[in-house]
Symmetry: C2
Subunit: 458 residues, 2 copies
């Protein structure tokens, strides 16, 4: 009997699921209907800063697969169509054609929820003024580029010091803007401990990016023409010809919430390891609308990242087509850069460890990404957290230049394997002068962390 798979959301998780299901089962066995409220499918939102900055021709380059390409694989893709209601008991969804306004119910045997995330946009006075832009969708990117073209001056304020914020700061700096990043946090990159975030702030200041920390934006000020002219915090004003919002995202789960599906503390859907929505048999969820298991702390965590969304889609597509695959969880790896300053992190921060009830030691070392004598060897700071007594690796943060960011991958694998920092000291990592000092910085940190664990005693 031909089954019907309905996918809600046409970006990474949803369309990966649809494609993977199609690879496994042909159209005579499985009908696949996918709904996308926007105008694009399968695009890289992570690439938007590089498009805006002029490094990437867009938006076409950021689209991995167009609606036409999906349709050529016999996926019934319905663009500009939003699913507005979910009837789990009746196994049907209500869809609205956003062009015509027409609505209809359609049934499913199997359902995939991949509704993504909503950018956080605080309800501040002036936030909707011309010249204030998010960078979540390709339409956002296009609007921002148009706005940059029409801006009368070259002062930009980026609200938010997370990875989108710092990447947008790089892009705007490259376009010749005077860039100010305003962040609530003690330091930029709140995905790092403040002592490591400080290195990012110092690096950014060295590039000419002003970073204002501990500052809450209270309103957006507009000029006589109605366009943004400044961003105000409690006690200061920052002139702006353009404002970019990079405050973060939250899971888009209103549909799921209304249907009574299980949500976690951050509002993301809760699934099992096969990415099935908990308590349901034929409903899966993945991508930016779900929480994932953090393998280090053992808790659910909200980590909206394209790389996870793609993995979720693969797993869901396999399972929805009758196969078996699992997504065991994440360890919290993320990499980013501001110009030539690279930032990597994986595992737990100090505050994460404390919240999880873990006692830990920290070790911070200064090294270089290449042999000290090799041209271009630049400073690299590695911070490592290890559990007291057991010595189990809990997390690594790295800030440096060439080769810093992806070095966290070593720690990501070690976290996945539950290694101790002492075991890590013996890791056989690649050594040659252009690529590493004879002791790789991660090994140096592991050695120091091992000593710290020993000194901390029982």
């Amino acid at each position: 009997m031909r089954e019907r798979l309905v996918v809600i959301g046409g970006d990474a998780a949803g369309m990966s699921a649809a494609s993977q299901a199609r690879r496994t089962r042909g159209p005579d066995e499985l009908e696949i209907v996918a709904f996308e409220r926007g105008g694009y499918t399968s695009y890289s939102a992570c690439g938007i800063p590089y498009w805006v900055g002029g490094d990437v021709a867009g938006p076409e380059k950021l689209i991995a697969r167009t609606p036409e390409e999906h349709r050529a694989r016999e996926i019934d893709l319905r663009m500009r169509t939003e699913v507005v209601e979910l009837d789990v008991a009746g196994r049907r969804v209500r869809a609205r054609d956003l062009e015509s306004g027409g609505e209809y119910w359609t049934g499913y045997d199997k359902l995939v929820l991949a509704t993504g995330a909503v950018p956080v946009r605080p309800a501040l006075p002036g936030i909707d003024a011309p010249g204030v832009h998010g960078v979540h969708t390709l339409d956002d990117g296009r609007a921002l580029l148009e706005s940059l073209g029409s801006a009368s001056g070259r002062r930009a304020v980026v609200v938010g010091g997370g990875y989108i914020g710092v990447e947008m700061a790089e892009a705007l700096l490259g376009l010749g803007y005077e860039v100010t990043v305003v962040t609530r946090g003690e330091e930029p990159m709140s995905t790092l401990d403040p002592d490591m975030g400080r290195l990012v702030r110092e690096g950014m200041r060295g590039m000419g990016i002003e970073v204002v920390v501990g500052a809450e934006v209270t309103k957006v000020l507009t000029g006589a023409d109605g366009r943004v002219r400044a961003v105000a915090t409690g006690d200061a004003e920052f002139p702006a010809d353009v404002v970019v919002l990079g405050i973060g995202v939250r899971p888009r789960t209103e549909l799921a919430r209304a249907a009574g599906l299980p949500l976690g503390a951050s509002g993301g859907l809760l699934t099992d390891t096969a990415m099935r929505v908990r308590g349901l048999t034929d409903v899966w969820a993945g991508g930016d609308c779900v929480e994932v298991l953090d393998l280090v702390s053992g808790r659910e965590r909200y980590v909206p990242l394209g790389t996870h969304a793609n993995k979720h889609g693969q797993v869901i597509g396999t399972n929805a087509a009758g196969g078996y695959a699992t997504f065991p969880g994440v360890v919290g790896t993320a990499v980013s850069k501001v110009c030539d300053l690279e930032i990597g992190r994986t595992g737990l921060l100090e505050r994460d460890a404390r919240e999880a009830g873990l006692r830990y030691v920290t070790a911070t070392v200064e090294s270089t990404g290449r042999a000290g004598y090799y041209p271009g060897a630049a400073a690299m700071t590695v911070k490592m957290l290890a559990e007291r007594r057991t010595g189990r690796l809990l997390g690594v943060q790295i800030v440096g230049r060439d080769g810093a960011a992806k070095r966290v991958d070593v720690a990501a694998v070690a976290l996945t394997a539950g290694m101790t920092v002492e075991r890590m000291t013996a890791l056989d990592l690649g050594y040659a002068p252009p690529f590493s000092p004879v002791w790789d910085p991660v090994l140096v940190a592991a050695r120091k962390a091992t000593s710290k664990v020993r000194e901390a005693g029982w």
Copy 2:
């Protein structure tokens, strides 16, 4: 009671051991005597190609610690002094002052053998002619630089296609030489499978380096002035104003052999996991004169690398000072580059797997080191070996550009942890467009290898 530690060999393993022992125990508890036959201590032989190529000012920059610095730490370092006999039963060594020729016996309570390696130098006609150079010691580097200064033309032949050979090819190319690499192997880089070595050869040819494979050098031809003028193989001659030998090294263990110490198949000393020479209690050995346990195959293997030598020294120094540390073994990681072409490998090659009696599948994928749309994204080829049935990762080889080489570190940790390729598909590796496609090339290879394992069945 004050003990006496004697160290034979003043490079990475020996002096790391001496320094680590000294950190743990002061001169009132432990006397440390170290013998070095050459004129330098603790130097980076790996850096010689970059010194010769002009990227690094040498030789001072390549010296991590001078004899004076070691002596300042109360290590009785005796330079230009060779240990010529070892009397294990009598706990003494016979030393020869190479300047004066004088000899003397001296006793020890604890002994460290760190005699290093001997460069392979086949007994070919003409091999000792002026203009023919090894690149093993700092004196070699100095002699080669002088020779390059006096060479009348700009044709260089490098004998050997291993990592020293390809790095020297890069250095000579950068100095404006026409470079020919002559190797016995089917392809250069015999530390890779031939299909991956072919990519290196193609890359080198693209840089203008001529690579002659399957060619055995039979003699070195000299001119009227006695200086090298060409290298001859069975059926061809390659004109050369300078010849560099990069054929490899073998363990320097004549002293150990004469004393009846246990040697492995490659002639390296055999130790236990604490780096003690097998069967002896107070004698340790490390660095380029030992064989190490290959954790993937479970066999001993000869892997002369500075990074292992440093780790050995740490372990030996700790143990010789009465502490406890171990060197669990290696997984066979090595990284290298020729100009912008990066080469990484870890674990077993196909021939290694066959010799170890392992049945395996291979998966080779083409990807890029960055998001495909990001500027500078270049091709990267990843080959992965996995055991049949179990799916255990056996090895990874990578050839590509920016970010290719150190990506093998992820596989090195996975090998250490005994991961299956299927488990690797879920690894949480860092993703951002400047650093990786949304599926890291290692993950793409793991997915393909997982399919291959499944297809191969039981």
